[in-house]
């Protein structure tokens, strides 16, 4: 039987994304599930879903990516999330020249793509400052959902958090709540803090081309807007952005099929 399905599985630290493409690169299926405790279990669950779509082993090529990429035992190849996010973003946004910002659960990646090739990239260090995890912790502290946090922030201003470290920033936020600071102002401070952190990393790269947001946070309109203001350029995003890594992996599977 010939190969007609190309699956990309992106096992992130909080969320796992799967994209299935046909031979022309058209997205047939998108799957999203929390990674949970075991990335091996997650990979198995994804396999069941693929089987559920009637995609048999000899009809598919699978590429895994993300922090749990080694857990996908049935993958034909592993590709790093840097390469996958770059490929996926180019595909989704329809351009070969862009700078990708992925604010993930555990790390933030900045990737410069020129003519479809990664030419430079940065990843933040071990700590969770400037990552999705930071936003999550702060949203919890404020007892709001992530979406709400970003929308609240739009209405706030005038307050800032000085600490970049998630643990210290959390106690700062608790202090602000204690002082009776308005929630929207605190939310603004939280969003602004992450935006500043990402922007300071971006300062090390050339940013003279379109900047796009990928990963789970790309649907947060206000974050995208603030990032654009601070980076002084247009930042684009779209709902499929969160599947960029998985789409890139699927495209890598397509390349495997071709070679």
């Amino acid at each position: 039987m010939s190969i007609s399905y190309y699956a990309g599985i992106d096992i992130g630290s909080t969320c796992s994304k799967t994209v299935v493409m046909d031979g022309s690169g058209k997205i047939l299926h998108r799957l999203l599930r929390p990674t949970g405790w075991s990335s091996v279990d997650t990979a198995d669950a994804v396999l069941k879903e693929l089987d559920g779509f009637g995609i048999a082993q000899d009809e598919r090529k699978v590429v895994s990516t993300g922090y749990g990429r080694a857990s996908v035992s049935y993958a034909d190849k592993q590709v790093t999330e840097i390469t996958c996010h770059a490929r996926g973003a180019c595909h989704i946004y329809g351009t070969d020249n862009l700078t990708v910002i992925d604010i993930g659960g555990q790390d933030t990646k900045l990737i410069v793509v020129q003519n479809g090739q990664v030419t430079d990239f940065l990843m933040n260090d071990k700590c969770s400052a400037g990552t999705g995890r930071f936003l999550e912790v702060m949203a919890n502290t404020l007892s709001v959902r992530l979406e709400e946090l970003c929308e609240l922030a739009r209405m706030g201003g005038g307050v800032s958090i000085s600490s970049m470290c998630t643990v210290f920033a959390e106690s700062e936020v608790i202090g602000l709540i204690g002082k009776g600071e308005k929630r929207e102002n605190i939310a603004y401070a939280v969003v602004n803090s992450i935006v500043q952190k990402v922007a300071s990393q971006a300062g090390r790269l050339k940013l003279d081309q379109t900047v796009c947001l990928t990963g789970g946070l790309c649907e947060f309109e206000y974050l995208r807007k603030r990032l654009g203001e601070v980076l002084r350029c247009e930042v684009i995003a779209c709902p499929d952005g969160r599947y960029a890594g998985a789409a890139g992996a699927a495209l890598s599977a397509l390349r495997l099929g071709e070679s």
Binding site: V79, T80, E81, I82, V118, T119, M123, K126
Partner: protein
């Protein structure tokens, strides 16, 4: 394996803790080295030495000490071995490359000290490394702040001599280093009771030049697209050369080079055609720090050159052998050593020239610039290094790491992405 327990106990080592170290080393050696395919046969020498790294060479050193010879422990490639050898002394490198020693170092040093310094101090104070026990005198140097201050602490526990390394490379600095070498020679004469004559110094200069040439011969083989040796194996050879007898080191390296040259003629490569060729640069990789090479070479690329003190900086440039007076020889030594390009100097543009030259010579596809955590000197230099390489069209990845394994996953992703970027 021979039983060295009596020797270790005679050296006053912490036997219980040292046993823990002895237990993990064989696994590491197996994983990093023995698992490789198609290795040069001549690596058998280094496999043996590393498998009994705390036994074979320490036992030899003790035998020599019984004959009245003195052992000098050094921490920097600026300290001239030739002077020590001319006085019939023995040199051994003393840099610590394992996380095992770090906690003992942290008992006396700030956590924000580079792991190389913490491990070196910890190996001495924790009494878990025979080389640190055997050395009769330590020779330190005024390079980075971390080492300078650590030497003050080590000096309370062992005789310590400090050489004042210049921070710039003007004519007067080269003269100053010559004077430092002459003064060091006096100290060595005093400590060993042997006189350094121009004949003896001339012989020592020749001996160390031969060792440098032999190391260079092996590195020259790595320039070939038919890569006859892995980066891990070459690194092990270089690391051990800091501890070994220089004549045997030269002999073994030449034996290895013979085999590698033959491999190139026969088209025998350790990697498949098209494998990306990486040059590693930055802070030294002291034994048994194989983390970076291991990740790179198990991620589908090959390390073909190390622009570091455990690499080309150790053996490039020879000392002029034509001098016949001590004064002329000291000057020749100073001129050679001052060509070493370390980030402790300002400016250090020579390192960038070296990198651009080596990238061509070794036909590299990309450079990984990696510094140890808390080494502000090499960390700061990453900026000018990466700018210069990028301008020359050579991709570069800047990394920072320590001796712990905690960041191995992150490193693997970055290095993997870098290699994918080169393809």
């Amino acid at each position: 394996m021979a039983d060295y327990r009596q020797m270790w106990s005679d050296l006053g080592m912490d036997m219980e803790n040292h046993d823990n170290l002895c237990q993990v080393l064989p696994t590491a050696v197996g994983d990093v080295f023995l698992s490789q395919e198609n290795r040069p046969k001549a690596m058998d020498f280094w496999d043996l030495v590393i498998s009994e790294v705390h036994g074979i060479r320490p036992a030899e050193l003790i035998e020599e000490q019984k004959k009245g010879r003195k052992v000098f422990g050094t921490f920097c490639v600026y300290v001239p071995d030739e002077v020590i050898i001319a006085a019939n002394g023995i040199v051994t490198g003393l840099c610590g490359g394992s996380q095992f020693w770090v906690p003992d170092g942290e008992k006396v040093l700030p956590k924000s000290t580079c792991p190389l310094v913490k491990a070196s101090v910890g190996a001495r104070l924790g009494r878990t490394c025979p080389f640190f026990r055997i050395a009769d005198m330590y020779v330190g140097e005024t390079t980075c702040d971390g080492k300078k201050k650590a030497y003050e602490i080590l000096g309370e526990d062992v005789p310590m001599y400090i050489m004042d390394v210049p921070q710039m490379k003007r004519e007067k600095d080269i003269l100053k280093w010559k004077d430092e070498i002459a003064e060091f020679a006096k100290k060595v004469e005093e400590f060993t009771g042997n006189t350094i004559t121009p004949e003896k110094l001339g012989e020592a200069i020749h001996l160390i030049n031969e060792k440098r040439k032999a190391l260079q011969r092996v590195y020259d083989c790595r320039k070939s697209k038919t890569l006859p040796i892995s980066g891990r194996d070459a690194l092990l050879m270089t690391q051990i050369s800091f501890f070994d007898d220089p004549a045997r080191c030269a002999q073994m390296c030449n034996r290895l080079a013979d085999e590698l040259e033959q491999r190139i003629k026969d088209g025998v490569s350790v990697v498949s055609a098209g494998t990306k060729r990486i040059m590693v640069t930055g802070t030294p990789l002291a034994v048994p720090n194989w983390k970076l090479h291991n990740i790179i070479e198990t991620s589908g690329a090959a390390v073909v050159c190390e622009e570091m003190c455990t690499g080309t900086r150790y053996f490039e440039n020879l000392v002029d052998e034509s001098q016949t007076t001590l004064d002329g020889q000291f000057m020749a030594l100073s001129e050679r050593y001052m060509k070493t390009n370390c980030a402790c100097f300002t400016p250090n543009t020579g390192r960038i020239d070296d990198l651009l030259r080596l990238a061509k010579e070794y036909q590299v596809d990309g450079v990984i610039d990696c510094s140890l955590k808390f080494c502000c000197l090499y960390d700061t230099e990453k900026y000018s290094v990466s700018r210069a390489l990028k301008e020359a069209g050579i991709p570069v990845l800047s990394l920072e790491t320590d001796y712990e394994d905690a960041d191995a996953g992150q490193l693997r992703t970055r290095i993997g992405a870098f290699i994918e970027m080169l393809s």
